[in-house]
Every structure is written in C-alpha cells, then in structure tokens.
Subunit: 277 residues, 4 copies
C-alpha cells in the first residue's frame, strides 16, 4: 500500500490499526514526512495477504473512510499480480539484454507483453527470450501519427513502459498516457549533460566521473523525477569510446535498479522528485 | 523509541495507537522483521515531544503493559538529552581531530566529558577544543589494574565510549562494563585482516581495495557487531604508507558515521549484527 | 611488450631507444619500480606495428641482447593476435551471459574456442552465441581422471582460461598447466570469506559491504594474485538472496574487468600480487 | 619533469636517453598521447637527483636542444623545493581545517605562507597551526581595488592559490595573475549546478548523488579544467542540511586530493581539461 497525504497526527495509528483489525500482519513499513508542520506524509506499508480477511474489493471499500478522513491518495497492489512492462528500444542492446536476463532469472518480477522498436535489429534477441517484438518505424515528419499508432497498439497491454535506450523523444500526448509510468535511462548524471550525446559532452568537459540517471518521463526533456543514479570514475586516458563502454555498465545497472524499485512499488513521485522506500 | 521483540501481528498498531492516544506526532518510523514466521521484530519510532502528554516517567509506566504483552525490549531516549561520549586514543590523531571538529560544528550531537589516552601526545589537541584530557598509562604487566583504574575514573561519566584508534586490547571486564556501548574503528574491511597491522597485511596480499570497519567491541577481538564499513580503491603503486594515508580518510569517515548513528539511536545490535535504521 | 627485471639506471632509455631506432612509435608506456634500491622494475610499453621495421622474429632476436644485459623477463604480444579464452562454467549463468555479450559487441577482444561445463544446463546459451559447448562431468571420486580428460581436450586450444563461476576446485596439475593464465571470480572481497558460500558467511557476519574478487588461480585456494576487486553496499534488510542478487552484479563486472585487463596484456603477476598497468 | 609537445616518434627515447646519459635513475614515468596521428604528447617523468650529474641550471641548458627539437613546453621541479600555497577562505572552516591538518602531518608537502580571508572568523584556527592570517574585506562596490590590494600583498609569496570555500568571485585580472595555479573547490558535481547554492539546487532537483569538483580557476565561472571529482549517495530523507553535511566530507576530500596532485606536479592542464598522472 502506497499512501500520500497532508501530514497530521494519527495516520500511522489509523493505518496500522486498520490492518491489524482485519488480521493482516505488517511485513515492512516505511514512512517519510517532508517536514513537521503542514508537511506531507508518505508511506509504504506491506502486509501478508494470506491471513488478511478482506478481499481486494472489500479492502478498497473498508479503507475508504480512513482515506477520506486524511485526504489520502493511495493505492494498493498485490505482489502476486505482476506489473506488465512494455519495453521500447532502438538499436543499442545493452539495456535490453540486461533487462531480459534479469527478468528471466526472476530478479525483476514483471511480465513483458511486448518490445517495440523503431528499428528491426533486436528482434532476434527478443525471440531468444520469447518476447514478442514489434517494429514501429518513427519518422520525423510523421511522428505524431507514428506515436499514435504505437499508443493504439499498446492500449491496455502495459502497466508501465521502459525506455531502454529508446532514442526518440516522445510527444506530450504519449507521455500523458502514462503519467509517471514511463521510465527512461539517460546516459549522464543529470542535470549535467542534458540532451544529445552526453558522453561527447562529458569528454569535452573533461569530467572525472560519468554517470547514468533513470527517471520518470515528463514532457520536459530529461527533467522528470529521478529514481536512481550512479557514476563511475574516468580519466584523461578514456576516449569517448571508453566512456561509452564504462557508461554501458552504469546505464544498465541504474535502469535495472529503477525498474526493480518501480515493480515492487517502492517509488512515489512528488513535486518532480521521488521518494524511494 | 527503540524496540525489539518476537514478531507477531499488532505490534505496529499497538505502538502507533499508544503514541496517538497521548497526542504524540510520529516524525519517523522504521521497522524490520528478520523473517515472517516466528521471527524477530525491530522498530525505531520517533515522535515529537512538545505535544506529547506523558512525561518521561509516565511514558515508562503507561507503555509497560504493551511492552509486557509483546515481550518487548525497549528504551526511549530524548533528543534533547545528548549522549555523553568518552573518547579513548593512543597517538594517532586523525580520528580524534575529525571527531572533535564534527562535534564542535554540531554534526555530532553529544557531549564529550573526557579524552583518555595511554600517551600524553594529544593533550594539546584536546585543549584546543576545551575537552579534559587524562593520561592513563597502560603497561602489559599491569593491564588489569591500569584498566580498572580507568574504569573507576570513568564511573558514570559516559554513556558510551569511542575507541578512536586506541591501540590497546581491552580486558573482558572492561568491555562488559559497556555492553554494546564501546565503538571501535578497525583499519580494515573486517573480517579481512583481523588483528595487528592490517595495512601491512593488505599490502602483502595485494588487495585492490582497502577499508575500515566501525563495530561494537565484544570480548572477541574485532568480531563485534559491525555498524559501518567503507572502502577505497588502491593499486600496485600504493606502498604501505599510501595505504595508511588513504586509509586514514576512510577510518575517520566510517568512525564518524558510526558515532552519528549511535548518538541518534539508530543502531540495534542483534545476534552479533546490527540493524541500522 | 611486458617486461620485468631488477631495477637499475638505463632500462627505459635502452628500451625506448631500441624502439625508436627501428622506427616504432610509442603509443603508451607505463612503468613501476617496487623501490629505489635493488628493487624490481616493471614496464608495459606499446608501440605501433605499422611503421616498425622488425618482424616478430626479428624483434625477438634483436631485442635479446638488451634483455640479457638487464636480466629481463619479457614477452611481446600483438594486438592483432587475439588471445584465445577457454571458459569453464557450472550452472550459474550470470558471468557467462555477461562475458559472451561483452565479447560479441567487441568489448573483450579475444576468441572463445570453447565453453566447458560440468553440467549440461548452459548449452543453449552457448549456442546462441555460436560457441562450442562441451559437457565434462566431474565426480569427486574420479576428479583426477576427469580433469585430465579435460586438459587433454583443451590441449593447445586456449591461451588462458576463465572460471566463470566454475564451482569445482582444480587439481594442482591442472593449475600448473596454465600458470597465471587461469582467471577465477570469487564471490567475496578476498581475503574475507575464503572458501564455500561466501554470501552466507557475509550474512552471518553482518557486513555492510559485499564484494567480488578476480584473481589468478594458484594451487592455494582463493589465494592467488588479485587482479580486480569491487564491492557494493548492503544492510540488515538484505537477506542472503539479496546479497546473491547484488553480488551477481559485482561478480560479472569484476570478472569482465579482469578479463579485459588480461587480454590487453595489462597485468603482470609478481610475488603473489599483480601490477595492473 | 612535466612535458607537453606535438606527438612524434623518438620523444621518450630522447628524454630517457638524456636522463640516463647524465646518470639519472628514472623513478616514475607516465605518458599520454591524445591520439596517434598529429596528436599531442604529454609526459611526467621523475628521476633521482642524488646521482644526477647536472645542477638545476645545467639541466635547463643541456635539455634545451631536445626541447627545441620537439617543440616542448616543459618545466622541471624538485621535490626538495616545496611549493608555496596561499589559501583563501571565507567563513566555512571544513576545507581549511582539513588542509591544515593534512599539511601538518605531512600528507601535503607544501608551505603555507599565508591565509587570506574576507572575514575575521578563522584567525584562531590559523593561529593554532601557526599560519599567518590576514583579513582582507571585499566589498561589492570596491571589489577591483580590494582584490588589487590582495594581489599586491601576495606578490611573489605564493606559487599557487587554494580557494578553500572562498565565497567570492575573483576578477579576471586576479585570475590572470595565477594562470592554472588557482585551485577552487565547487560544491557540486560540475557541470551540474553551476553557480550559487548548489546544494539547494540539488535538493530541488531531487538528485540521488551529490558531489564536489576541484578545478583550476579561469575567468569563466566554474568552467575551468577539472582536477578531481567525487560523489556521495543521498536520498529523499536528506534535507538541504544533510546534503551540506554529506557534501562537506566530499568537498574536503576532493580539494585535498587536487592539492596533493598539484603539489606533486601530477597535473597538466590542456584544452580546458587536465591530464592527471
């Protein structure tokens, strides 16, 4: 259960009391308040379903009065219901290879209904893992229609989307269809090197660390809420190709971490930032 | 409030209900269960004192029934009551310099009633920060008596002790006087390089990382519960002196982190491990 | 060119003079001396072949007088001659998946003549990358013969071997056949947690970092020269399964780095340590 | 000896031959070429003075023909001649405390002729370490004159300057007086969060890492060649004050590293980047 609401006394007590009353056993709980007076309250609480007496629907109904009293935004998800992740890629395979492998061995508990690409190149890889692959060419001149077709195709098939180095900018209407449910990997330590060719930018600037950032996509390029970031050391010996090589490792690790956090409902976006429980 | 008890349903509800009932507002709470069935439950919960209706004594009394019901070990501490940290050093000053400076600028909220050393060297440093410095020589032949004198001197002056590179092994009776309340910094990534001269050992082994470990002292040398650890990269160019230089940075950072965690009651020791909230 | 010899004045001058004299252009050079008096000298120097006037054989002959004068151990390798890496695995696929992918995209410049396993499980993966897979069962009672058969099979096919989580201890005669040419990945920060089940050991000890170590195999278990190491943070929330998950990322990264260094002749083993240029 | 010149064959040979001819023994040497054809060549080579037959002046004269032939920019420095570092601070003491302590224990081999501040606050600290402290107030309206007075005071007293959180922007004429000889610590991972209040900026952006950057000062704010950078993880629990606290640790470490590299002549600036040997 993920909850956010204005902070005031009694929230934890109300929630935990509710769970206990219906025979739930709390497995994990974590909360965060932005500040003490008139701040916001955020909570993730997970409890065992086996002993819990309420069905999904009953829970929704029974909890509503508490939610109303505290003006909560809340949703509950069940670990037995795997989220469905649609993946978008272009030509680079390192993030896709990594996601598919982690998914196959059970590190990422999700389903992958489809892989969409604006290039045909990675179909064989998708096949190896038994995931349907669809080629949706996108042209600059017809981007609106191209993306609309893609969106129509996706329909209700996916709970969230992963841009695993999808090298196209998505139109606002597309982004709006998956609010805070599109995860992108940007190959720099944002907000440094926003935009194109961050490794070239990093090389020219002569930085001593390069990084990667996984974030939710908003209509502002590379400015959505950051979920995970990491860096790796580099030095003057590293040409752009070396930065790319080192960066691949950081990118795929950071993206996988963000996906893992998202699929286990550990991320709450708030004011263009994230709370990661 | 730090709590540990056998895990069963209703604990969080009982605690948060109790706090709410007496008008406390929960600021932070974090819990951990070792496993779901017949496991242990650990919790740190902090709430604002200003609105809370119970005094220290009233709290103790009013909470006792809950504690009894769930077989809790618990204690409550007030952030307005700074812990008193007695510091023991030998000749190396890097950890002491760092602790004193962090303490002076308010990074470590504690009092320092005394610094004890088996050498006179660091008295001037202690004076600079206005902390009383006592020279307690320790000789191999008279260690028992020497430490007993030290212990008698300390008496009730300190809530916990920091071994800031105190290069003596403490006798079991001394350790027992401060159970899980003596923090030591060992200059290796334990359990690698237990014992004397870890940097020499690290050099001979040719490791590519060196580290430091802050842990609670138990009667088994370097085997107490680990509070914090970190490492730094090294390579074949690093002679032992370079390892010592690099290691100083890690040591003081790790020790300061452990002290910060301890002073803010974020550490629970359990089965020779720690839970760090 | 990799060189080691007793340190004395004139070595760099002699080598660089030799290269210049035969029209080679030095691309990279790095040296290391263990200490200033009566120490050892190590050097890696790479120069462009296109303008160099000596063939492989001529070089060997022409350089010998210098080598003799300075008592050098030396060998030269050509970047156009890719090393041949035989891979040994058991059932865990994370290191193998990673090596094969890095190899395929050109990150690891080597050939892979075969993959050997004591289990049949990973054959499909090998096939996907077009690498021959051979199943060599090893039984405790017949280990000597089993390994002898393996060694006979390998013959002259491989320049070095990679144990990509090969969960068997190799017999001394096998190790001796590839002196400092077998790279193993151990799933701990050596010398901590030598031997079996390091993640279980790490969990029980309650460390706050777990690591991985790539090293050359010698006849002493887990005690050969360390090539690369890295760590990742963990805490009390990490069960053994989480340590294994986090560790996989470190293992594959560290192993790949060690293989990359070895294939580009950047590693010199010396007194059970390595110099990594 | 630090050397940069257009890359062509024979440079290493000429330099090492020269050193050998005059009985020098090379202790360390490292080189870097920006690319193979028509690129630039950079080298740091250190050799023992005790056996070397040329005096400082003789060396200058004898080496000049080689320098001319290869169009070298070069300079030689003697480890027995400690560089003189003038330090500029404002009110924050963490970098200054750290530099002074490292200097006192011999980690930074340099002299500190003076500390200049636009505030009187840190005089006591300077006195503790026996370093002269001068208060030079700087006002917005009289900045030109104020800095000129400072510059006149400094005169020939310092080989380079350290801005240890000196919170004033230096005028171009001041910067030009110490080309690539003023080291600044910026409290962010540049180029992210250029300018004022980077921790506030970092907090608002919700980054998951904060960093620090030591760089040479040029007339473009925060855009000079980067010498060293590092980062530390942070999360949603970190308020601006926590970022400041964590950042202090990174700042002082990164600044000290940059100063150490500079004082041991390991840094060559080149095209707004650095080569760090």
């Amino acid at each position: 259960m993920l909850i956010s609401c204005p902070d005031k006394p009694g929230i934890v007590s109300a929630i935990s009391g509710f769970i206990f009353e219906h025979n739930g056993n709390i497995l994990e709980s974590d909360q965060h308040s932005t500040n003490q007076h008139e701040g916001s309250f955020f909570m993730r609480i997970s409890f065992a379903e086996d002993t819990f007496r309420l069905s999904e629907e009953e829970l929704r109904e029974a909890f509503q009065p508490i939610a109303t009293r505290f003006q909560m935004q809340w949703h509950v998800s069940y670990s037995r219901q795997r989220k469905r992740a649609g993946i978008l890629v272009s030509k680079y395979d390192h993030c896709l290879v990594d996601l598919l492998w982690r998914w196959k061995i059970g590190e990422l508990t999700m389903d992958i209904p489809f892989i969409i690409s604006n290039h045909p190149n990675l179909e064989k890889l998708a096949n190896m893992y038994g995931v349907p692959y669809y080629h949706f060419p996108v042209k600059r001149e017809t981007r609106q229609q191209d993306e609309q077709r893609m969106l129509d195709f996706i329909g209700e098939q996916a709970d969230f989307l992963i841009l695993a180095r999808y090298m196209q900018i998505l139109e606002p209407f597309f982004v709006d269809a998956f609010p805070q449910r599109i995860i992108n990997i940007h190959h720099s330590f944002l907000p440094a090197f926003i935009g194109a060719s961050p490794y070239d930018q990093a090389f020219r600037r002569g930085v001593k660390l390069i990084g990667a950032t996984a974030h939710y996509v908003t209509s502002s390029l590379d400015e959505g809420p950051i979920i995970a970031q990491d860096v790796i050391h580099c030095d003057h010996r590293d040409a752009v190709d070396d930065l790319i090589r080192k960066g691949r490792d950081v990118e795929r690790r950071v993206l996988a971490e963000a996906v893992r956090l998202h699929t286990s409902d550990r991320v709450l976006a708030y004011e263009n930032k994230t709370i990661v429980f």
